[in-house]
Symmetry: none
DNA sequence: GGGAATATTCCC
DNA sequence: GGGAATATTCCC
């Protein structure tokens, strides 16, 4: 329904309705205050609201309690939903934005994302969600990095242990995922074979009956 | 002719051919050296080359000597030309980019822009055009780089670097594999649905015929 | 996940 | 024209 075509005619000093807000920019370092929510958040929220009336819910929807949302079909979502709201169709760019705004992935099994202030029926809370962005602090980069490195130096070996552990687990995971893919592919083949065989036999049955 | 539709199907970790270049990023503070030209420059150049064979020349073209270019019809240009090369159709965004790359407006009477290194037949010079961007850093570049080099000295840290590297790649792989699985699962569902629907219709056909 | 480069928008 | 915020891409 809501077909927001990405490219609208907008000549000259175009002003989209995206993030137009009267006052100044972010109140740096203030208490959680109502602001004009980032376009990304509004669009993502709207996209989920659209689901309430349509059957996009098969592609993306709130979880049951409305405390997080799930992309059920990344392929469909990327190809059809994203370009209606954003200037791209890359799932990874969408995820990049979610990370920027501090969403957390809830499950390794499905594309479920959560943010405290991003919940069904709470459009008014979106203004409290901010980009996490290391302010280009007063101190030059090299001071920061050196002090950070000093901190970790004592636990260097521990870190290595942890990384090796994680590495091992990731490789195991990879193997499992690849096996899952193999299984999927096999099942697909079987289904296709089944379908084609079934069509053959049914057709001949029908022919015999005619 | 060249119809680069803005949104191409590009699921997952999409890699556009935009600015993919082997090596590292900009050589900060080096002599004018050949680099991979910015996507913006390539697109703008190509758009003008396109004009050589079509009659876009009524909308946008090189000047007579090929030392600058003129947007003859901003309206047409914004509505039809821009979205074929960029993710927008705002003339002002185009101009913002021109300014970023140091183009100068040549006349107050028409939209003519010029850059020393942007001339007809000189695609090879585009790599010498750089963004002008005030570095946020108060400190000179050489301080930064030397301190960075100090950081990675012990073999311990090197090991850790390698492990972190591998770790990141593994996580990326995992993402890709998970997306593959999602697609597989989706296809399975569709095949199953197809099979079951087909069985239903065929059965009823047979029943009718008996 | 996130740093950093480039692109797009918004505003002065 | 350009500073600065947000968006998108690319890469680790």
């Amino acid at each position: 329904m809501v077909d927001k075509s990405v490219v609208e005619l907008n000549l000259g000093l175009g002003k989209n309705n995206d993030n137009v807000v009267g006052g100044g920019h972010a109140h740096a370092g203030q208490s959680p205050r109502q602001r004009c929510p980032a376009p990304f958040l509004l669009k993502t929220y709207d996209l989920l609201e659209e689901g309430e009336s349509e059957d996009i819910t098969k592609i993306v929807s709130w979880n049951e309690e409305g405390t997080s949302f799930v992309v059920w079909s990344p392929a469909e979502f990327s190809e059809h939903t994203l370009p209606r709201y954003f200037k791209h169709n890359n799932f990874s760019s969408f995820i990049r934005q979610l990370n920027t705004y501090g969403f957390k992935k809830m499950s390794s099994k499905r594309w479920e994302f959560k943010h405290e202030k991003f919940q069904r029926g709470c459009r008014h809370m979106l203004g409290e969600i901010t980009r996490k962005k290391c302010e280009p602090s007063v101190f030059p980069a090299y001071l920061k990095s050196s002090s950070e490195e000093n901190a970790t130096s004592s636990t260097e070996e521990n870190n290595e242990q942890v990384l090796m552990e994680e590495n091992k687990n990731l490789k195991k995971e990879r193997l499992e995922l690849q096996m899952q893919i193999d299984e999927c592919k096999e099942l697909e083949m079987k289904l296709l074979a089944c379908l084609s065989q079934f069509m053959d036999t049914q057709q001949s049955k029908i022919r015999r009956l005619c």
